[in-house]
């Protein structure tokens, strides 16, 4: 969890990347992490592919399908993270649906996460009301249970922010993951609500696809999360995606660093 704190400590805004684990295969995912690190990513989100990703748009759904077709499992990704940990010092979190953790066994899953060097979990289908499902095991193994707030959270925002760990994932648009032409939500207002009760770092995600959007979102928060736009490049280039992803993410880094 301390690694997450480190990622948000420096003067620059945090750049957070999401990729689907095992898309198109584990070897490429490993290469991608190094490419992303080189491009200046501060925190890595790795998705565990799931058969029924109800919170994801078509791009990430298809990435799940590609990873599952290659037989990617939670164990493969845990082992991969353990290997990465020999060289990568930035925080790594899993983005996973509740059932992947539940089927694995909550306790066994968190124990292995801790052993392999995972710093946190983002579980989109575990809202505040169900967080007790994982709270105890996350605490026991020092894994941050990262919460989300949405434009529809309104008065729930403070309640969620008060108990937030690691960082707060601020969802910028309604609907599912995916790129948007423009982001109309007043993120500054949401982050103001968070700030009134907590000093937890806030990162904005959902819909960010251009360096300018990343810069704008980071300017009102502590960082920007880029997912679908990267996964799209992976889908396009397959096993040769590392270099185009590095170039794309480097441009986002440069733009964010103008802040």
């Amino acid at each position: 969890m301390n690694r997450i704190k480190e990622a948000f400590k420096n003067d620059k805004k945090a750049l957070i990347s999401f990729i689907m684990g095992g898309d198109p295969d584990i070897e490429t995912t490993e290469k991608l992490i190094f490419a992303l690190a080189e491009a200046g990513v501060d925190l890595f989100e790795i998705g565990i592919p799931f058969s029924d990703p109800a919170a994801d748009g078509i791009v990430i759904q298809q990435a799940s399908v590609r990873a599952l077709e290659k037989g990617c499992t939670a164990d493969d990704l845990l082992n991969m993270v353990k290997r990465l940990r020999e060289k990568i010092t930035a925080p790594i979190v899993f983005l996973t649906y509740a059932n992947s953790i539940f089927a694995y066994g909550k306790e066994r899953f968190m124990e292995r996460c801790a052993d392999c060097g995972i710093d946190g979990v983002i579980v989109p289908d575990i809202p505040y009301e169900e967080k007790a499902e994982l709270a105890e095991v996350c605490h026991k193994y020092n894994i941050a249970q990262i919460a989300l707030v949405a434009p529809t959270s309104k008065e729930r925002t403070e309640m969620i922010a008060k108990e937030a760990q690691g960082f707060l994932y601020c969802v910028s648009t309604l609907g599912v993951t995916g790129v948007r032409d423009e982001i109309r939500t007043n993120m500054a207002e949401i982050i103001q609500r968070v700030r009134s009760v907590s000093d937890v770092p806030c990162a904005v995600g959902f819909g960010i696809s251009t360096p300018e959007q990343a810069r704008d979102m980071a300017s009102v928060s502590d960082g920007a999360i880029v997912g679908t736009a990267i996964v799209k490049i992976v889908g396009e280039y397959g096993r040769d995606c590392a270099e185009p992803v590095r170039q794309y993410v480097s441009r986002i880094r440069e733009e964010m660093d103008t802040l």
Binding site: D125, E130, T152, L174, G175
Partner: protein
């Protein structure tokens, strides 16, 4: 109705984006269903528009043929739109309207819930969009056209296995992107709280009527109530008022497809384990990593890898039992009821008829079985012909 849990099952495992809408729905549901005016309006719709109360029919020939327990059929198939689905849909559509929603969306498997939703939307002047697995739109092409006739837009879902579970995923995605003016009419006792409670309460009229009708005819309670189970809305509707009557056996029939030992089935209780999907904790067909299994049944309405959380709880506390019925057994029962009683059942409901055929002969003649005939079989005629290798097109 606060925790939304049935034992350890149920809950609200959904994205934060929809949480406030679920809270709003729960508040509205509690508010309106306690209002005499709402209750009266819904009762009038159920009676005058949908044709309730549905009949309890003594299946004399079937009883004689099986030579055991007396068999009654609860005729939900005679409801407007042809199944029990209308009970829930009228309740939710009326609620949506009171909440100021102008648009409803729904998932559908066999198409019965989609047709019911499109019907209620037409009646109440709501916009309606239905999400249906592409495979199901082909299996149930007639119902797709029926929905379109009623003014609904049907979206074929091409993700995943292209069946009911994927239609649910897609409807959840659609709802999360447009919450302000849209209500999601969940079609079964599944999904996040308050849906399993709300849908059950809109369906429990089935068991309340059965109880009253059996008492009037026989002056006693039935010995067994049998219903088919996919998500489980007709079953919970038929069971609910009997849960406190321990002497009444409650039997749910799940779809065993080619058999529970084959890869092609949808028998959640026989083969499933506890998991989290579609907003709820319950039993699901899944692998060791929690990937939801591609399930199969001849019946699109039972082709679902999970079961409502209240059924999971009734199983755990040994109040209800769940038995698998194969495609072959269901098709046999489909033919049997058609020829014996002149009633063509939905292939879903035929699963319940199939189990009654096994059970009746083992019970004495003074016993009573009620089969919930949840829907009529018109929609299945083409599929059954295909299954039996009969060509009906020129």
């Amino acid at each position: 109705m606060t925790s939304g849990k049935f034992g350890e099952y149920g809950g609200q495992y959904v994205a934060e984006t929809v949480m406030n809408s679920l809270k709003e729905l729960e508040r509205a549901y509690l508010h309106y269903t306690s209002e005499p005016a709402f209750k009266a309006e819904l009762r009038d719709l159920l009676n005058d528009y949908a044709g309730r109360p549905s009949r309890l029919y003594y299946a004399e020939k079937m009883t004689r043929d099986l030579g055991g327990a007396k068999i009654y059929l609860k005729r939900e198939d005679l409801n407007h739109t042809g199944s029990h689905k209308i009970n829930n849909v009228l309740g939710q559509a009326l609620l949506a309207k009171k909440m100021g929603k102008t648009r409803v969306i729904a998932e559908t498997g066999a198409g019965q819930h989609g047709v019911a939703s499109a019907t209620a939307a037409a009646l109440m002047g709501l916009e309606c969009e239905v999400f249906m697995g592409k495979e199901d739109t082909e299996r149930q092409a007639l119902n797709v056209f029926r929905m379109e006739l009623l003014g609904a837009k049907v979206h074929p879902v091409t993700s995943g296995t292209m069946t009911l579970k994927d239609a649910v995923n897609e409807t959840l995605r659609e709802w999360a992107s447009r919450l302000d003016d849209t209500h999601y009419i969940v079609g079964s006792v599944v999904g996040p709280h308050p849906f399993p409670v709300m849908v059950r309460n809109f369906q429990k009229v089935i068991s309340e009527e059965i109880k009253e009708q059996v008492l009037a005819l026989e002056n006693r309670l039935p010995d067994a109530v049998i219903a088919c189970v996919g998500g489980g809305s007709n079953a919970i509707g038929a069971f609910y008022d009997f849960i406190g009557d321990k002497e009444v056996r409650l039997i749910g029939c799940e779809a065993a497809g080619h058999g529970v030992d084959t890869p092609k089935n949808a028998a959640t209780i026989a083969n499933g384990t506890v998991g989290i999907l579609h907003g709820m904790k319950s039993y699901f067909c899944q692998d060791v990593y929690g990937q939801i299994a591609p399930v199969y049944s001849i019946s699109a309405g039972l082709d679902y890898p999970g079961i409502g959380p209240e059924h999971a709880h009734l199983l755990d506390i040994h109040r209800a039992e769940y038995v698998p019925i194969t495609d072959d057994e269901a098709v046999d029962a489909f033919n049997y009821l058609s020829r014996t009683e002149g009633i063509i059942p939905a292939v879903e409901s035929a699963h319940a008829v199939a189990y009654a055929r096994k059970l009746a002969g083992t019970m004495s003649k003074d016993k009573i079985i009620v089969i919930n005939l949840s829907g009529r079989g018109d929609k299945d005629v083409a599929a059954i012909a295909r299954y039996m290798g009969v060509k009906i097109h020129e």
